[in-house]
């Protein structure tokens, strides 16, 4: 029932499912560490998916499509930044507005492309290594998005913990008043963090519409932006935990499909809710451990200088 080929294929599916979530949540983690709660992830993702598809379809280049998706996500994040950071509007409302705007815009941009299709972003093939049983396709046979997500995570983890820029960004998120008093441009730093979040969400959208399911359909993100947001909380705002969370969620959501296929008689409704149950269970464990929930102290608080 379980041979090496199936295990390899299952693991490869898990990597693809986790990559979407990881890409979107890394960016949000950075924005939140700078003190901005951007609920617009779903909207930025879907706009990335639509623009990325449109650009790739029009130009024939997946790379151009990916770049366009990141730009589109960034542009939409600026709408949020303008409202929430520069006009000090309520962040929750601004984020929701961003998502709603994004869903509508994406439907409009994508409408000429409904029913068309593209060739998927190819899996990279490294001679010898990709042909190893099980680990070959999983570690060395993924598409570029999977490697980009891991690289981004490593850069963010290192940057936040070990660089001066990361220290300043965290300071802005913990106490924007103190950071301001020290002369750091709080709003500019937050805007950059939100733009990074937008670019990552756009990249996640491109992964969906160019690699995962290479076509455009409205609402194709189907709530993954919200899951990415939840994962940031799940990770207690730590990049490495985020990696674990994204892969746990991806693994449970793929494995439950296989369990159903084997016909073990477990109700599918229960299986479908497993990824969420697993996330809740992990959250409970984290809070029971009391090892600092790690929410940035200024998260969600608008900053108005010289008040």
């Amino acid at each position: 029932m379980l041979d090496a080929a199936i295990i390899g294929a299952v693991l490869a599916s898990i990597v693809a499912a986790a990559t979407t979530l990881l890409l979107a949540s890394i960016g949000e983690l950075v924005a939140e560490r700078a003190g901005t709660l951007n609920l617009g992830v779903e909207g930025m993702m879907i706009v990335g998916a639509a623009v990325g598809y449109a650009a790739a379809y029009g130009s024939g280049s997946l790379i151009l499509g990916t770049i366009a998706a990141m730009l589109a996500g960034t542009l939409l994040s600026l709408v949020f930044a303008g409202l929430a950071i520069w006009l000090a509007a309520n962040q929750v409302a601004s984020g929701l507005a961003t998502t709603i705007l994004g869903l509508g815009l994406a439907g409009l941009i994508g409408s000429p492309f409904v029913g068309t299709t593209l060739t998927a972003a190819p899996a990279l093939h490294i001679p010898v290594l990709s042909d190893l049983p099980i680990v070959g396709p999983v570690l060395f046979g993924q598409d570029a998005f999977a490697y980009a997500s891991i690289a981004l995570l490593a850069i963010v983890a290192y940057g936040l913990a070990r660089t001066r820029a990361g220290l300043v960004l965290r300071a802005v998120g913990e106490s924007h008043v103190a950071a301001h008093a020290l002369g750091h441009p709080v709003r500019r730093i937050r805007t950059l963090a939100v733009m990074f979040g937008g670019a990552c969400a756009g990249l996640a959208g491109a992964q969906l519409s160019l690699a995962y399911t290479p076509f455009w359909a409205s609402d194709m993100t189907a709530g993954r932006g919200w899951i990415a947001l939840a994962l940031v909380v799940f990770s207690a705002w730590r990049p490495l935990w985020l990696l674990g969370g994204a892969y746990l969620f991806g693994a449970v959501s793929i494995l439950q499909l296989h369990v159903q296929g084997f016909g073990l008689g477990i109700p599918s409704q229960l299986l479908s809710s497993l990824p969420y149950l697993a996330t809740i269970a992990a959250l409970v464990v984290i809070s029971a451990l009391k090892r600092g929930q790690g929410a940035p102290a200024s998260l969600g608080v608008p900053f108005v200088p010289d008040r």
Binding site: L96, A120, F262, S268
Partner: protein
């Protein structure tokens, strides 16, 4: 997060009604106003897309004598009631609610607006001003079952299902009955994704089924994701709602296409003529409401068989649910020479013999 999500959805629905989102209306007077509400986006290239093609056909048929409106992406439940209520208050003469879960909300609103006509798709509750309509998709599923049994080398069909409601279960049964008529030992693997529209999840389900040995994929979900996976993995698949050949030029065997246009045109015409009555319409292949996309990627003898079966169903010579039919426990449910009555098909909640799985929630 769920709460935030539902708030977002509620906000989205509210804004849509305020005219910022999915509503498209054109001002005029003395026109018949018809409205549609859709479970998914019109760009899903599946269920909602096909209903919207029907709406466009109504616009094309009647031109400026009709004014149409639609609201897309309306979740089943309380939000739906609010949207339907708004559409009724906006002065629509006829409102089409196009998902099973809109049944109770439609009924409630219909009671409050006795002068407005309501049409609920795929449900079973009627009122004086609320009609129901549905399509016999299971007729098409019998044909694809036969094709699947002929074309499968592994003897295992993979089936991506949405929710365990009668419409979906009768589709699985009908496909299995068709398949068993060719190969009594055929196996089916069913994966429920508990969603009508989630392309990535549908793709994951297709991959899982193929990894487990299925070489024919059928789906009762709305996106072309599974077709694309089948094309990439070199197996065959059946499309759903729309002709999905562009997503699987080498994979698609056929597609069960919904064609709501004739029904919508007829009902809107009746509103114009003042002859509308509450009815329960269940049309199928014969009426053109269910259509089969061209039979492709199969040998001529399989194609011939499919065409013959289609002709027999159209002529009434063949009914997918004709006896003898046994349930999973091996009990004879439909005797030889009898057929399962329509009302039993519409409330079907059991699997036929040979399906090695249990109906979720049973």
């Amino acid at each position: 997060m769920r709460k935030i999500l539902s708030t977002a959805l509620a906000l989205a629905a509210g804004l849509a009604l305020a005219g910022m989102g999915g509503v498209q209306a054109h001002a005029a007077d003395k026109k018949v106003k018809a409205a549609w509400i859709y479970i998914g986006p019109v760009g899903d290239f599946g269920w909602s897309y096909q209903h919207d093609q029907g709406r466009k056909a109504v616009e094309k048929e009647f031109g400026d004598k009709v004014e149409t409106t639609y609201v897309e992406n309306v979740p089943e439940g309380p939000d739906a009631e609010r949207v339907i209520e708004q559409l009724a208050r906006a002065g629509n003469d006829i409102i089409f609610t196009t998902s099973f879960g809109y049944m109770e909300p439609t009924l409630k609103v219909a009671k409050r607006h006795p002068k407005t006509f309501f049409e609920h798709a795929t449900g079973y509750k009627q009122a004086k001003n609320m009609a129901t309509y549905n399509a016999k998709f299971h007729e098409g599923r019998y044909i694809i079952g036969q094709i699947a049994a002929k074309m499968s080398k592994s003897g295992t069909i993979g089936y991506i299902a949405s929710f365990p409601i009668p419409e979906v279960i009768s589709g699985i049964d009908s496909m299995m009955l068709g398949a068993q008529s060719i190969n009594p030992d055929i196996k089916i693997k069913i994966v429920w994704v508990n969603s009508w529209f989630d392309p990535a999840k549908e793709a994951d389900a297709a991959k899982a089924l193929i990894d487990q040995g299925a070489d024919i994929i059928a789906q009762h979900t709305d996106s072309p994701a599974a077709m694309q996976v089948a094309e990439a993995r070199g197996v065959k698949a059946f499309g759903q709602s729309s002709d999905m050949i562009s997503f699987g030029p080498h994979a698609q065997l056929t597609s069960i296409v919904d064609n709501w246009a004739p029904y919508y045109i007829e009902r809107v015409k009746e509103v114009m003529d003042g002859t509308w009555k509450s009815t329960d319409t269940w049309a199928g292949l014969k009426d053109g409401e269910v259509q089969m996309a061209p039979y492709t990627n199969m040998p001529d003898d399989v194609k011939k068989m499919a065409e013959d079966t289609e002709a027999k169903i159209k002529s009434g010579e063949l009914n997918p649910f004709q006896g003898p039919i046994y349930n999973q426990a091996g009990e004879l449910v439909v005797k030889e020479g009898e057929v399962l009555p329509d009302k039993d098909i519409l409330s079907l909640n059991w699997y036929v013999k040979g399906i090695d799985d249990t109906v979720p929630g049973k």
